[in-house]
Symmetry: C2
Subunit: 542 residues, 2 copies
Amino acid sequence: MAFLGAIGSQLSPLRESSSFLNTNTIIALTVFFALLCACIVVGHLLEENRWANESITALLLGLCAGGVVLLVSKFHSSHLLDFSEDLFFLYLLPPIIFNAGFQVKKKQFFKNFTTILLFGVFGTVISFCIISFGAFLLFKRIGISTLDVKDYLAVGAILSATDSVCTLQVLSQDETPFLYSIVFGEGVVNDATSIVLFYSVQSLDFSNINAGTALNLLGTFLYLFFTSTALGLSVGLISAYIIKTLYFGRHSTDREVALMMLMAYLSYMVAELLSLSGILTIFFCGIVMSHYTWHNVTESSRITTKHAFATISFIAETFIFLYVGMDAMDIEKWKISNASPGTSIIVSSTLLALVLLGRAAFVFPIANIKNCFQRTERTKIEFRKQFIIWWAGLMRGAVTIALCYNQFAESEESSTEESALMITSTIIVVLFSTVVFGSITKPLIEAMLLRHSKPSSSDAADTPSLEDLQLLFIENNDSSEQGNTQPVPRRSRLGLLISHPTTTVHYLWRKFDDRFMRPVFGGRGFVPFVPGSPSGVTDETC
Amino acid sequence: MAFLGAIGSQLSPLRESSSFLNTNTIIALTVFFALLCACIVVGHLLEENRWANESITALLLGLCAGGVVLLVSKFHSSHLLDFSEDLFFLYLLPPIIFNAGFQVKKKQFFKNFTTILLFGVFGTVISFCIISFGAFLLFKRIGISTLDVKDYLAVGAILSATDSVCTLQVLSQDETPFLYSIVFGEGVVNDATSIVLFYSVQSLDFSNINAGTALNLLGTFLYLFFTSTALGLSVGLISAYIIKTLYFGRHSTDREVALMMLMAYLSYMVAELLSLSGILTIFFCGIVMSHYTWHNVTESSRITTKHAFATISFIAETFIFLYVGMDAMDIEKWKISNASPGTSIIVSSTLLALVLLGRAAFVFPIANIKNCFQRTERTKIEFRKQFIIWWAGLMRGAVTIALCYNQFAESEESSTEESALMITSTIIVVLFSTVVFGSITKPLIEAMLLRHSKPSSSDAADTPSLEDLQLLFIENNDSSEQGNTQPVPRRSRLGLLISHPTTTVHYLWRKFDDRFMRPVFGGRGFVPFVPGSPSGVTDETC
């Protein structure tokens, strides 16, 4: 040992001077990777626990680690890595959103597409208006004076970005498909909407507001939405076409997997390069890839992509929560904010109240308006479901933190103290909502769903109607006799489109898909489905 | 279109000012990801081609892309990303080396362990001495004057780092297991050795050289080798133990995969943190993980890890070659070096000649010395195999470039022109050896192996001897009657150990593994082997 020690001590000084790598980077990476491993193990052990989940575990572990670093550095800093928006928006967010698109049950998602858009776009805008206006009215009374209109609008956009990871961990995609797809879909659309809103606010010229401004904003939004979606769909289709035509599986499974990963990421980058919404692009790219590309690759590639994408997304999510927890212990921000604990608590509770109110202000009205248009009791959104949808969007997470840093970390217009106060208050909102709301989520949802569950209507909107069954029957008939292209009489189709728009659109899409898309881009039709294959997801058509 | 264009033009200026992401980063990433996709597609199309392979494709595509960027920037710069040693040593090298350990056929590797160590360690040191000494003698005549002893020694270490990817793509692990394991194993050990040599040279104090210096170097090397290996083995065993004990598969496949990825990477980081050799650590961690951990996870995780690790390694390798190609077009370095094309060519050819000579100087002698100790004709390394081993290590790659930048990019002692000349000459050596030698490799090896192949002795060293078979028989007997632990008579064992050291060590290891290791750390013994399972590698025990 003495020998090793002697060599070690002789090595260390010279290695420090000549090592290729920055010691701080290595320490930071070591700590983060060790914490990530710890999160996974602790998360696994707490799997059965009613109150805990992975996000909370990561957040609390991050807080502890931040505390330890703070102690070790003698209260100088808890920073190991600077929070970098590049890291977040370039490397952590894309895999999470891509995986969301890749694993989503497409049938459910598109069936509830209008509802999802209503909640995700319209709802987020309402929440944005209420939080901005509320903060504008209330903050002056608390004594905050240097924030301007732009800052208040930014606060609205920042706090409108929800984080529904907690809820999605509790909801089951199989037991409550309707709720899951609404909460899940709203989460993705909400991320995109709030980021676009935030962009727009930052770029607005407030010295020159006129009637055209709102119209301009609307135009921008529609432009971004449609071009981003189109880009994502195109990249996904190109990947399917390339893999199908060149038949990569012949030579190498790894090339298939690599190409899928790289093209997905490329779609995000191209979108950002064209100033579109990368989130929407990569989400739709994921959907197309799971519908076409995934069926063109070998069985091993299918299993690999499914689990590898989920794993990468899982690591990115855990990393973010870990980081947010660690960042909360950053002593400097608290020092700069210079606010009394009282002020911090008042500001945070105000923001939290606005978040609760802003969400209630659109979930219940939109759901009830939607209910008015439903003819049958069965397809209406009951109150307990409305409540779960409301609850699911109360948590705030990484997008909020990232946007908040972007707005307030180097703000020139408002004073440094009040900017720091906004950052620390946002962190408190994120921590409180994730830890407190998050830990209640599981028992709450279980209670809500179990207490009221009736065997046949627990998730009514998903039960197929008589018409659905008829359509499926027609369609099965149709696909079993491929040569026989005798169309369903046009009048009956039009009638169906008016009376059951979603089902009819789905039926028409399947016909279009079978006849035009699949021959070119592949997909299930070309790979015989093996029942009981380990690839799991396969029993779903869209 | 006009509408979209108008909005687009209105958007771009404001987006540029408010976008979260640095536009240059996005452009660079977009270009790199697009090129990576192109490499995969072109590589796939050229799969059957005799002359091309993935490395050459990536290198040439990189050169073309660099040329285009150079033209677009009007000969100002071909840089999109700065070559960062952090990027290389932290993110690209670890997955490549880990995958090497994870996919290696362990039985072959350990069977030829002494030969691999001889070539990888002793051979690299010989090559280092010859290249350093040769450069020292010859460069003065060319007119290079400002380099000092340290620089020459560094050149020796830099150009001793081989890159055997090209050859490994041609050799088949199943058809020529002996050659494959030698070339492969030497490649990994060589990387570690040359990096350690380079470290040591940089840290030597040349004003105070005495007899102890060489001993000190040797001590350092042995210390690094054993501690790094031990660390890698420990982390691998810990991962196996955790996954076996906690039975992760029960809840989630993704957690298993994530934990394996993270712990592998953690081993590299911890090694770097302790100033050990991360490459050796992560390599042995990969070996242990494939021997124990891999058998403790679910079938899906096994397929996923196998392909995901291979894919990530493949992407990293392609990225490196792409980068090296692109970097070669960096006009600034060529301007600074200020050398006439003649000088550049002379320096590069000198270096290349030294590389050829330095490798010949150890491959043939070591192989022949080793042959003297072999009793049977069968186990000797024939000349054509020696030639292939020699050829396999002629290519220079990313490690060479990375070390070269480290030494010469910001050298204070030697003049800037000569430092730049060394960088450009090294790039020429890398390009020439990869493209020219690389493209000859496939036809050459095919010719060498086919022309002389005899059905039964094409890879003689792998044919099991009579004793091997006897041992296997004893062992099978032994494991089929687990309760019956009656030992083989001690005298016969000792005799075997002396006459057939490798086989006996392997036999003893298997007994130890079955009796002590597998009950604790899992491994094949605990998961029934399913013949024809899609996970492929399984039919190998070590």
